[in-house]
Amino acid sequence: MTLNRRIEKHPILEFPRRKPVVFTFEGKKIRAYEGESIAAALYASGLKIFTWSYKRNRPRGWFCGVGKCSSCLMTVNGIPNVRTCIVPVRDGLNVQRQKQGLGTLPSSFNENLEVEKLDVELAVIGGGPAGLSAAITAKRLGCSTVVIDENFKAGGQLIKQTHKFFGSRENYAGVRGIEIANMLLKDLKELGGSWLLSSTVVADYIEGEKHVLLVPSVVEPKVRVIRAEKIIVSTGARENMLIFPNNDLPGVYGAGGVQTLMNVFGIKPGERALVVGAGNVGLIVAYQLIQAGTSVEAIVEAMPRIGGYFVHAAKVRRLGVPIYLRHSIKRAIGKEFVEAAEIVQLDENWNPIQGTERKIEVDMIVLAVGLTPASEIPAQAGCKLAYIPELGGQVAIHDQDLRTTISGMYVAGDSSGIEEATTAMLEGKIAGADAALSLGYKPDEAKRIKDKAKRNISEFRRSPFGEKPRKGKERIWRMMEAIQ
């Protein structure tokens, strides 16, 4: 594995690689850089197979890159099932893949598990656009806050958005997502907001009026028990899978996973790509792939029209990328990783039309077929959920202030229904302001912030592209009213 997939020059991003790190992977020394995840560093060195499936021993590779799937579980320093995509490299780590995907527990383990107790007024789970805005808003109003995120870099999906955002001036129109992340992180830092990175919230228990969060560290033997008056669940979403033969082959990646590789770690995900889905995510990821030096052979879209903005489609079209509408992927071809994709035209009932199959030589298939809200914490805590197709799946039932059916628990951003980053930031503002307000902080100002964010969000949803989430939100608000 002497390959180096690291991108040296990028039209938008810079990848300062300062401190070299050396770790061991199955007996071999791997050179990496501080700030890379184990999985990213392995990918950069040319590794494609990260693990094998339990029953059929099929190879599995990179997929989501943000700790939400199980494709990169490895044994690290004797600890099995480590999500290597969210653990940073450090000198001397010993990493091994797991036979048939299963790790073995060590015979002895560290019994000196450190337990730390923390008390805070507002705990924000997930430090993406919604969570950061929520924490900044609440902190500014005087509330004590902590932002918890299981990644070791803060900013959620914003830190991989190299494109400029649409929106209004005060909501960062014309600013790249990565820059928005920097601005939000700077704001929170200046306000003295606190952080817990590399920390996964695995449970929320209600004790009287308080929420008790169980938060193990991803990188050290330590568990935090956080007691909070209010919690905001802004955990984002998971990428959807599409059903087709060989969809589990290494080389079939989620769009966000690809963005993580190329835009966070500066690693070229592949040479030739097929993108599945012509919504905004698919169109944007295709453009970003070209910026990273990958050739995009085609975009296929099962619908008879582009789902995303025309302007995003025009951007890739004029770079010569064909968009095949009413087409889908029939199968991925390859033994241990993707070597080609077969696409096929669909008829009006979404059935493949025989004889229209076409083979495209690619080494990666990027799935941009939607997202599913990450509702695990509300579900575990006993929140009432509803399946709302317009919002992408199961979400906690909530009102216009983002309050759920559990006292003191809010949802915001994609975890409250799939939408986009600008509305996620606005929802974060609403939830953060309402949490501070209900704790008695600066009621007039809190109300003003909340009302303004609500006005902005309804303006945004007035666009034809906002119709779907608007309908979904209206449904869920009605459900909340019925419960109350």
């Binding site: 039209p11 400029k164 910026q291 025009a314 079209r317 004029r318 010569g320 303006e459 666009s463 592209f465």
Partner: protein, 162 residues
């Protein structure tokens, strides 16, 4: 095969003939100097071009209402080209038998003044050889690259390849 049926704008990511007509500035205005061509016709919630325009030429009547342009007020400064998140604004100028098209560009390598490039149409097909006349770079790294092409292609050329 990708262009079959329905609304051509949404289907292919390419403006229809009708829409191209709609966004074409008056010829006499384009002969006077560079002028913005805004190829943004959907109701996207965005007003970046409106406030980036220093001469008040781009009018946004609401955040989800597509921008309108007052060609007489437009000075062809290119600020809108650099800011538009959709990379949907271009400048055109007609000079004799030539046209100058300014294209937002975010790829490597960076085009150099004087360099010969291949001009591409909206589908990315090569349509002419072109010369780079000017490269404007914003601090967020988007470039506005002015290339010279045959006059008749002024509403066709929207991309380039180095």
């Amino acid at each position: 095969m990708e262009d079959d049926g329905g609304d051509p704008m949404k289907e292919a990511g390419i403006l229809s003939t009708e829409e191209v007509k709609k966004v074409t500035p008056p010829i006499d205005r384009a002969e006077k100097g560079p002028v913005a061509v805004i190829e943004c016709l959907e109701e996207i919630p965005c007003d970046a071009c409106g406030w980036a325009c220093p001469s008040g030429a781009i009018i946004k009547q609401g955040i989800t209402i597509p921008p309108k342009i007052d060609y007489e007020k437009c000075t062809g400064c290119g600020q809108c080209v650099l800011i538009c998140p959709g990379l949907a604004i271009f400048l055109i100028e007609l000079v004799g038998e030539k046209a100058r098209v300014t294209i937002p560009y975010e790829l490597l390598p960076e085009p150099q003044v004087g360099q010969e490039v291949t001009a591409l149409d909206r589908k990315g097909s090569p349509v002419a050889k072109a010369k780079v006349l000017k490269v404007l770079k914003s601090k967020d790294k988007t470039m506005a690259v002015t290339i010279e092409i045959p006059r008749k292609l002024f509403m066709e050329v929207r991309g380039m390849r180095l």
